[in-house]
Symmetry: C2
Subunit: 275 residues, 2 copies
DNA sequence: TTTCTTATTATCATTTTGTTAATATCAAAT
DNA sequence: ATTTGATATTAACAAAATGATAATAAGAAA
């Protein structure tokens, strides 16, 4: 091996193509909570988590649904890619975005070797409404069932129902506590079911120890509305007094009052950074 | 844009080199706890966290310390890379390994565009002893100080002291709650200080809600030893009764007794998976 | 006016933590 | 042999957090 006298000299001689290089994409799991107002296809008014999916109009996986995503440019900052894609799909800036996990299975893309860094983004659906890319659609999570480390998720956008099943394999020492394997998947492209599951779990965990949830809320909200969002994310009912104790230090009561709901009106609250 | 009749046809025509591709490395933060027995350079017997670093003998960053790592091969499963490197550095299989974060700053590698997926690995130092790559060295974390979102970490391997400072920038909505910036760094290559910080924070958080710590413990240990490890990771003293309540369901008492320590002997315990 | 529905809070029991202190037991020093 | 030092282990109690029920409030709709 040739020895160099300085870093400059080494770099001048370095050829990046000595190794076969690969491609990187960023995929974004955009999560929100469906408000019954928007969801004209639903009769009951229970809220659901919802996921923004895109219908692929090109190969590979033509006509299947997938997460918004795209290649990270050679000269593009890693985080710029998801921001760019988010802007393009929702026309919104300044949205909550966090890196989830990097998936790199050898066969996850039939074209070539593609590594994908996935991100999770949380938004308040009311912020967009109009501008939605035409082949984008919100899918409600109408079923999330976990039994013996097998998770089944069913999504529905009002016209179409899609579902997948993932098995969480408990591995003793190696790698993360769990590794996920897609068991059944009829219509979501790539390994995107894994991203959806990872994001939902992350959100559920972070609910307890962060203020992440307020990224999905409008500026003013009632505690009842906030509680519903908690319940939808956690998948279980919470008792009022317990819930109010949990969020007591995270919100401030305002003068605004929400009336006209057919029952006692409630004060509206705002998010308050604590500590 | 040309239209295709089938996925096969599309793939036949697809040229991966239409886009400029990039390189991916895996870097591994190997953490352990120093036992005073091994650390002959230390007089006091307080335990410290320790990190395995490698002295670079090539450009770039020649002669600086860095995390063990290497390129992910084009035909290599993403997770195989850190396992391969771990094996190579420690000669151990079946070690706890979890993905931490993917860093992709444009200038993190002077050679070319390199994305790095970082992993954290936890081991019980007693498992290796002998076989350590000759330019590898364990550094104790002799200082970890956080003040006003500025973290300073000082490492020492007995011969050499290195340090770095990182500022945690609180960003309102975009991206993760925090983004990290290296403020000062005299001798660690690449952006590896960020990996070290991310790993230490992850370990500290996961201590509470997982059994991750037992990956750093030998099969049999006293509760005093386990408590020391907790204290080192958390950076604070714990009260005995409180600690014992926390780990009560995670360990089982065995017949073994550890004597000869100059004080009351203690029972040895083993890890017990709960639930 | 009454009924329905959700909002909001009080109240109490239960469980979980925080803290101090008591007792135990071996090694080393006297 | 006895005392001293050090950590192990657990009891005991106070303080705080949580779980759960019930009481009261107030607008909308009947």
């Amino acid at each position: 091996m040739k020895t160099y006298k300085s870093e400059e000299e080494f770099l001048k001689d370095y050829n990046p193509n000595d190794y076969k290089r690969l491609s990187l994409t960023a995929d974004i799991l955009i999560l929100s909570v469906s408000s019954s107002d928007n969801a004209n296809y639903r009769k009951t008014d229970d809220k659901k988590m919802s996921v923004l999916l895109i219908k692929r109009d090109n190969y590979p996986f033509k006509d299947m649904w997938c997460l918004p995503g795209g290649f990270v440019g050679y000269d593009e900052e890693l985080e710029s890619a998801p921001k760019r894609i988010l802007k393009q799909e929702t026309n919104l800036d300044n949205i909550y975005l966090e890196q989830l996990y990097t998936f790199g299975g050898l066969t996850r893309d039939p074209r070539m070797r593609v590594i994908s860094t996935s991100y999770m983004s949380l938004i308040d659906k009311n912020r967009l409404m109009e501008h939605l890319n035409e082949n984008a659609s919100w899918f409600d999570i109408v079923l999330y069932e976990e039994k013996d480390d097998v998770v089944t998720i069913v999504l529905d956008n009002g016209n179409e129902t899609i579902s997948f099943t993932i098995k969480k394999e408990l591995r003793e020492k190696t790698t993360d506590r769990y590794s996920f394997h897609i068991v059944k998947n009829n219509s979501i492209a790539f390994d995107h079911p894994l991203v959806i599951l990872a994001g939902l779990e992350r959100l559920r965990n972070k609910l307890e120890y962060t203020d992440i949830v307020f990224n999905m809320m409008p500026e003013y909200f009632t505690l009842g509305e906030l509680q519903k969002v908690y319940e939808v994310i956690l998948g279980k009912k919470l008792l009022d007094p317990a819930f109010r104790r949990i969020i007591k230090n995270k919100v401030v009561k305002t003068e605004k009052i929400k009336t006209g709901e057919g029952h006692r009106p409630s004060y509206m609250f705002k998010y308050k950074k604590s500590k």
